[in-house]
């Protein structure tokens, strides 16, 4: 079981993520969108969406620091374990609360606004369940181990996470990890695997190139493309 969860699941997740992204890019670029519902309801979204997105970006940054910056590095800069914990606790909780408040408002909006609810697919609903579970379990795990210096995941989970990249997963590190953290990690992996198959895929199209390109884009007709191109996923047939 331990091997399955901490030795196999991460790679399955990664394979699903990469394969999904490749598949999406190759066959379903038309479906690659935020599928925004702002044209239906703008007022709540203008508050909730930035709150959630900025919150989750901060949470993401927190995870990157947590998992991929070794303790020796922070020690070298002179950050004590206690300082680190306090920063992680307060910063992380603040970001987490912003995220939770944002997503709670977004879910409320989605459920109560009839046109928005009608535009919600089964896929969206599954995604929301997993996303909410991941966020809530993360918050619960963090706050349940807040006393003292908290649970030191940097000796266990972080080391395991880094070992994944060397293709020699250090499964033993995961023994003795509190069960709340374990649940959070598993849900997190499921969420990562789901990204390319849900609307979450829009996170991979952050339009950074906008900062560097000229304002007006010119393009020429594709001279090789004579006649209609094959119909693709998501495109409706004319007259349907």
């Amino acid at each position: 079981m331990t091997t399955l969860l901490w030795g196999v699941l991460p790679y399955v997740t990664f394979a699903l993520l990469v394969a999904g992204l490749v598949w999406r890019h190759r066959y379903d670029r038309f479906g690659w969108t935020t599928r925004s519902s702002q044209v239906h309801e703008s007022r709540l979204l203008n508050i909730a969406s930035p709150a959630f997105h900025y919150g989750i970006l901060f949470v993401l940054a927190g995870h990157v620091v947590r998992l991929f910056v070794p303790e020796s590095w922070t020690d070298a800069v002179g950050v004590s374990e206690h300082t680190y914990h306090l920063f992680s606790l307060y910063g992380g909780t603040a970001a987490g609360l912003l995220t939770v408040a944002g997503i709670a408002l977004l879910v409320y909006r989605r459920r109560t606004n009839a046109p928005v609810f009608r535009a919600t697919t089964v896929n969206d609903k599954i995604m929301y369940v997993v996303l909410l579970a991941a966020i809530v379990m993360g918050m619960v795990a963090k706050l349940a181990h807040a006393s003292g210096d908290g649970y030191d995941y940097r000796q266990s989970i972080a080391v395991w996470a880094r070992s994944l990249f060397t293709l020699r997963p250090d499964i033993d590190r995961m023994t003795g990890v509190p069960v709340l953290y374990e649940i959070h990690a598993v849900i997190g992996m499921v969420l990562i695997a789901l990204v390319p198959y849900t609307r979450l895929v829009h996170m991979f199209s952050a339009p950074v190139q906008y900062l560097f390109r000229p304002y007006v884009v010119y393009r020429s007709r594709d001279l090789e493309q004579l006649g209609p191109r094959p119909e693709r996923r998501g495109w409706e047939k004319a007259g349907s």
Partner: protein, 543 residues
């Protein structure tokens, strides 16, 4: 000089009868799909009126188009690149569907399925957004023919502006004094702010013909283009989550056919043709400090296709010969640059729009006739154009950022044309002072008359085809420039891919066009509708 060609349109507002045929045929052709119920690529507004979406011209609210920053450089009114990316998680300046109107259908089934009762069953309106019964309170065309103008007329942003200019004397006179129709499509601007707003780079202006399009595969639904367009002619498909817009019917234009809206226009008021322009001058022209100078600045961007130097430059820039010839015969070029009767819609948005309008003289003529004067007498008309300040000021707010000069000049040319042609029709000696008063000769004014009043199909739509433009290149290249299988989604794009050919898409059954044509002709000319029966009869005859 960097010459480029653009397919542009001119609409003669005097001829628009507000029948909405263009809107309906456009909708049937392009937006009769789920997710696009509220969308009209072409709409016809009654002016004065709020327009579609409501009050879209109020850029203080919707932040469309460009403005000048303190240094006098162009910047997007909705904010620059960094601000766009920082605020990408929501777009406070995005109109909701209800700012357009809530689309609906009717519960027709109730008409036949309702149980027997004392009352007639009715088809209740059903919202197409949430599927529930709704109260219809607005539509794309609610204030048609000034309907509700006493209540809503004041909400027209251009009425507000004109009133500010002309102070109190025009209060409440708009509704009584005049009205006209304004058909609107995408302006296919030279300096498109929607394209500039798109974070994904999915929107582009085609280099060959200037048509502005959305790449549906690259659009990620950030919705910035909807805000960026001051004319609100980019729409968000709420089902697919992608932006869509008027395509200038490019599949038709490419083969030399006019757009659907032009083809079906009952009043024959639309003109399509090529405009040549200098792409290097666009930014400078759009950055002119004085809003009222933008019209002249845009005229300066256009190139004269008769100028031999321009023709040489165009040829070097790779503009095909028949496009240059089309530019010489272009009715659009004649109306915009030669006669200068067509004006751009809202040049103050600094997008350099390419659908221009001939302002309507009819409100002036009607007003004159109503007061018992001869509505087509040149003297009366010239006087009336000036004294009927309200239409003039309102039109100036629409077409020249409030500058009365170009509108007056355009209307006077139209007035002179009416007067001159009436004299000819009545067999009188035309007064040479009438054309002279507007700086035109009698021949020139008759030419303009031909273009405005008589122009046949091939005179109104001078559209060079894309294929002929490419023909020379195709002839010259015995070998294709790239791998001919290497098109998007083709086998050259790395084979069928690891998931097989049918993964993710369905292939259209390919039916040769000729066969369709022959089947169609057979069906139309045969007595029997069954094609098998037709063959059978002919066989029997042979036997």
């Amino acid at each position: 000089m960097r010459p480029m060609a653009q397919i542009a349109m001119v609409m003669n507002l005097d001829k628009c009868i507000g029948c909405h045929t263009c809107s309906v045929t456009c909708k049937q052709a392009w937006t009769n799909r789920r997710g696009m119920e509220y969308v009209w690529f072409n709409n016809v507004e009654t002016r004065p009126g709020q327009g579609y979406p409501r009050r879209y011209e109020d850029q203080e609210r919707w932040r469309g188009g460009w403005e000048l920053n303190r240094r006098g450089a162009l910047k997007l009114k909705a904010g620059g690149r960094i601000r766009k990316l920082a605020g990408i998680f929501s777009n406070p300046e995005l109109p909701e569907i209800k700012d357009y109107y809530e689309p609906w259908t009717y519960d027709y089934r109730n008409l036949t399925d309702a149980p027997l009762g004392d009352d007639f069953p009715v088809a209740e309106p059903i919202s197409q957004l949430d599927g529930k019964p709704m109260k219809i309170e607005w539509s794309a065309n609610w204030d048609d023919n000034l309907a509700g103008a006493p209540a809503h007329g004041d909400l027209d942003p251009m009425v507000e502006r004109a009133r500010k200019q002309a102070s109190d004397k025009v209060r409440f006179e708009f509704e009584q004094s005049f009205m006209f129709y304004l058909p609107r499509i995408c302006e296919h601007c030279l300096n498109p702010s929607c394209v500039a707003s798109c974070p994904s780079g999915a929107m582009y202006k085609r280099a060959e013909d200037g048509i502005v399009l959305v790449d549906q595969d690259r659009c990620r639904g950030w919705r910035m283009c909807v805000t960026g367009c001051p004319y609100k002619k980019v729409y968000f498909n709420h089902r697919t989550g992608k932006a869509e817009k008027c395509t200038m019917c490019y599949p038709r234009v490419e083969v030399g056919l006019p757009t659907v809206c032009s083809e079906t226009c009952v009043g024959r008021l639309r003109y399509l043709g090529v405009m040549l322009y200098d792409a290097d001058k666009v930014t400078a022209a759009a950055s002119v400090r004085d809003e009222r100078a933008l019209y002249e600045a845009q005229l300066d961007v256009f190139l004269d296709p008769e100028d031999s130097r321009v023709r040489q430059e165009c040829e070097e820039a790779g503009i095909p010969y028949d496009w240059l010839e089309a530019a010489r015969r272009s009715p659009v070029h004649a109306l915009i640059s030669r006669y200068r009767v067509a004006l751009p819609l809202h040049p103050e948005y600094r997008t350099m729009p390419m659908v221009w309008y001939i302002p309507p003289l009819s409100p002036v003529v009607d007003a004159l006739t109503e007061t018992g004067h001869d509505g087509e007498d040149a003297g009366n008309l010239f006087g009336a154009i000036d004294s009927l300040r309200i239409p003039l000021e309102y039109l100036a707010e629409l077409f020249t950022a409030g500058d009365l000069g170009p509108v007056r000049s355009s209307l006077e040319k139209l007035a002179a044309m009416r007067s001159h042609m009436r004299a000819i029709n009545l067999g009188e000696e035309p007064d040479p002072s009438v054309p002279a008063a507007v700086g035109m000769g009698a021949y020139e004014i008759e030419q303009m008359y031909r273009l405005l009043a008589i122009a046949k199909y091939e005179d109104r739509y001078v559209i060079p085809t894309a294929a002929i433009g490419d023909a020379r290149r195709l002839e010259e290249s015995a070998l294709p420039q790239g791998c001919s299988l290497d098109f998007d989604g083709g086998p050259g794009m790395g084979g069928d891919g690891p998931f097989g050919r049918d993964s993710g898409r369905k292939l259209l059954p390919l039916v040769p066009v000729e066969e369709n044509f022959h089947i169609l002709r057979g069906r139309q000319t045969a007595d029997d509708t069954d094609p098998a029966a037709v063959t059978h009869t002919s066989d029997a005859e042979e036997a």
